[in-house]
Symmetry: C2
Subunit: 219 residues, 2 copies
């Protein structure tokens, strides 16, 4: 499959590399066509990998992973272009974290809105699915690094898109279908993005980003 | 032990009843000395139970459980009175949930502040420990209703107070010491209060408030 990965940071790198390794054609997009990070990634993976601008990547991909820094996602998606994204599934992985006020980060938007909702509002013809944003990128692409059952949360307005994303996350990354919890429409991105406020603190206490939560049902 | 339970709602009721059952003397406080909810609770439990105003309860208790509705906690604590609370441990259970804009609720404060911090700032001579606010009241007092390991998060500025609260939650309510995660100072209440945004959505999806999360460490 032809897949766009927007963002050349740790998250984009991890996801693009995993997708190459499971046989897909990837264009990784960044602000400039020849970013250092993109070129370095390209040298590392070879194969069916390309780098380009956000617009190049969005035009190339049948499916789009938005792995941009959440604080800049809307600007990056504008550069990707509504026409290039139209009708496609956009898996939004980033959180609107603001590191400018020190650690732990705050959120640039929360409580009565979310980055997921802002994205869906600004790009109404894109099928936005918020997913993967509650785990570290090493866990996203290799959930077995955390033992036993632990969950991902997805949300979005389009049921078919969520089913396809669920299937892909299982097939490509190794998630178990029963461990992906559909929270409902895109407004539920508030829940998963605001979870980051607890996530970053657990990261500090556990001294590793390699953890996840298991939702345990009681009587 | 003489314990104050502020609030006569579901949470206060569950905690006060449990504390009576494990042998403590309780005064449950509310806005008025003879609230219907307080009187009803009193008829149900008998024994070493009293009801009164927030101030009556705070004056009585050597330890204070703040089980007031988070949106009204500061007002309730003002009625309880700084002099009555001085030097005591206050276990704050409530979250600043705002149901006025419909379901799921939003938070009245979050991201750059929290109810826990507001409380500690306004009552600097009280040892505020934020705890129990990430689970339903039935789970607070009977964690074995959820099978296996699952965690509570506590935070506060006073290490000795957090140790005492941890001991009490284990001894009185049945929590396991290894399942209580100390997140650090009271600013970390942002993390646990903002988790409610995910919690309320999980409640909707799971169709039961009887669940908790287990933090699973990976490689």
């Amino acid at each position: 499959m032809k897949i766009a990965v927007l963002g050349t940071g740790m998250v984009g790198n991890a996801i693009a590399t995993k997708l190459i390794n499971v046989g897909h054609q990837i264009t990784m997009g960044s602000r400039t066509a020849n970013s250092d990070a993109g070129q370095e990634w390209l040298r590392g993976v070879g194969g069916r990998a390309h780098v380009g601008t956000f617009a190049d990547a969005a035009a190339f991909g049948e499916l789009v992973f938005d792995c941009t820094n959440g604080a800049n996602s809307l600007a990056a998606l504008r550069q990707a272009g509504a026409d290039n994204l139209r009708g496609k599934i956009l898996i939004q992985v980033g959180n609107p974290l603001d590191f400018s006020k020190g650690m732990p980060p705050t959120l640039t938007v929360c409580n009565t809105d979310s980055l997921g909702e802002q994205t869906q509002r600004e790009f109404p013809d894109v099928r936005v699915v918020k997913a993967l944003n509650t785990v570290n990128c090493d866990i996203m692409i290799a959930p077995s690094r955390v033992p036993g059952d632990h969950e991902l949360f997805i949300c979005g307005n389009n049921a078919a898109a969520k089913r396809e994303v669920t299937d892909r996350l299982c097939e490509w990354f190794g998630w178990r279908p029963g461990n992906i919890i559909d929270l409902g429409d895109i407004t539920n991105a508030r829940g998963t993005e605001m979870f980051l406020a607890l996530w970053v603190r657990l990261w500090g206490v556990l001294e590793t980003p390699h953890f996840n939560i298991h939702v345990v049902r009681g009587e």
